[in-house]
Amino acid sequence: MIITTSKPFEEVLKELEGEQKVFIVGCGSCATTCETGGEPQVAEMKAKLEAEGKTVTGTVVYEEVCHELNTKRKFRENKEAVEAAEGFLVMCCGAGVQSVREATDKPVHPACNTMFLGNIVRHGHFVEKCSLCGDCVLEDFGAICPVTRCHKGILNGPCGGTDEGKCETDKEKDCGWTLIYNQLEKMGKLDRFRRIYGLKNWQANMKPGRVIFERKGGGE
């Protein structure tokens, strides 16, 4: 799940300066769960923009705004409202915003800040456990990621900033390396902790990432 937070409304208004007619795009996936770009938030945004004197030519909320073909299809389905708009406000992650970018040449604006790939702890409570490094090390660390759960992302044990299981950056945050140590100890696998981990390949996912799967035979 991609975790997003809403930008302050004043910032959104500033983005839309000079554009009177706006089309709003919300996402039925992650942004709905985060309550940053689901049906209720899109409706609320529409009302707030109209109260500011804007014209909302249309709104659409659909699953996976990040799906580029799907986004183009949705734009065709809403042709009239899309064509009437001077700009687009996209209420989901940065991938969704750029998916909309592919569907139009008109101004496209983000309504959210994209935070991280998150786990849902409970309603409205998200935490980051994977940072998409492209070279998964979970096997070595008791399925707890040091690249993500340790603030510094270091690979050979806790730094000097660890204190009673908490991180020097935030006493509310667990020290990832204490979690890893405790997990490996529980599993009787402390030998993994003792092993020196060499330099990591930070280019395993060379930015910008790109994966193209070969189609297996058959089908079309």
């Binding site: 510094k152 044990g157 000097g160 660890t162 950056t169 330099l199």
Partner: protein
Amino acid sequence: MTVLIKEHAKPSIQEILEAGKFLVTGEIGPPKGTDLEEMIEHINLLKDKVHAMNITDNQSSVMRYPSLGTAILIKELGGEPTLQVTCRDRNRLAIEADLLFAYTRGIRSVLCLTGDSIPVGDHKDAKGVFDLESVQLLQLIRNLEEGRDSGGNELKGGVKFFKGAIVTPEAVPIEPQMIKFEKKIEAGAQFFQTQAVYDMDNFKRFMERARKINDKVYICCGLVLLTSPGQIKYMNNNVPGVFVPENLAREMEDAPKEERLNTGIRIMARQIRQLIDEKICDGVHIMAIGKEDVVPRILEEAGVDITKM
């Protein structure tokens, strides 16, 4: 023409330790800016009183005059530097290049640290690098010594350093810390400086543990000068792995305001004496943090004269 510096005014800390002498080192915190006057004063004051001076590398993630530049300055002033290298601000390319340069300028000792995190410092919006960390840095230096950079390429002229690292005797929990200590040795650490220690009984227990893991590696006890009850309270509440015990806190509280610095000096002198008399470890690393001018007094009170050791 070679620019490699081979003349050294002072013996290296490796030579001191291998000769079985008690190593006494100090620390220089570079200034924020280019006015080096006070730092030069401190260097001149300390260079013959201690065997070597550590230079902090953007300590506590606060941007300062660089450790490498200061190390060279110490060399030029006739002192012996220990270059601190952290992994927070430079990736492996930058660190390797700095180390090549340091070697050609006569730097012989390097202390390898991961580095504090960015948010604790004064450039809170900066990107922390951490391409590698202390254990990998030690390995990287060993590779450079063997004539290879971390890209696996051969070097035309390598390096040779006395490699040090940090250990935190008061870390809670201590077990992961001790495993990391062991890993640092395996990665090439030849000497250790500890994070600030105040409880000598606890430090002795740590030394027993450390010696069981490895009885050859040199360990120098890190001491930070106490200056006020407020500082003690701050350190106990905010500095991970630093704990000032009740009896020392009381000693400082009981001192009249004008006697506080003297009390701190007395406490540290007493601790240095104990480290030497009881042969607890191989040396002491004195961190006076801005009060470098009192280091000669601390040593005098401890009865330590490196020219007579």
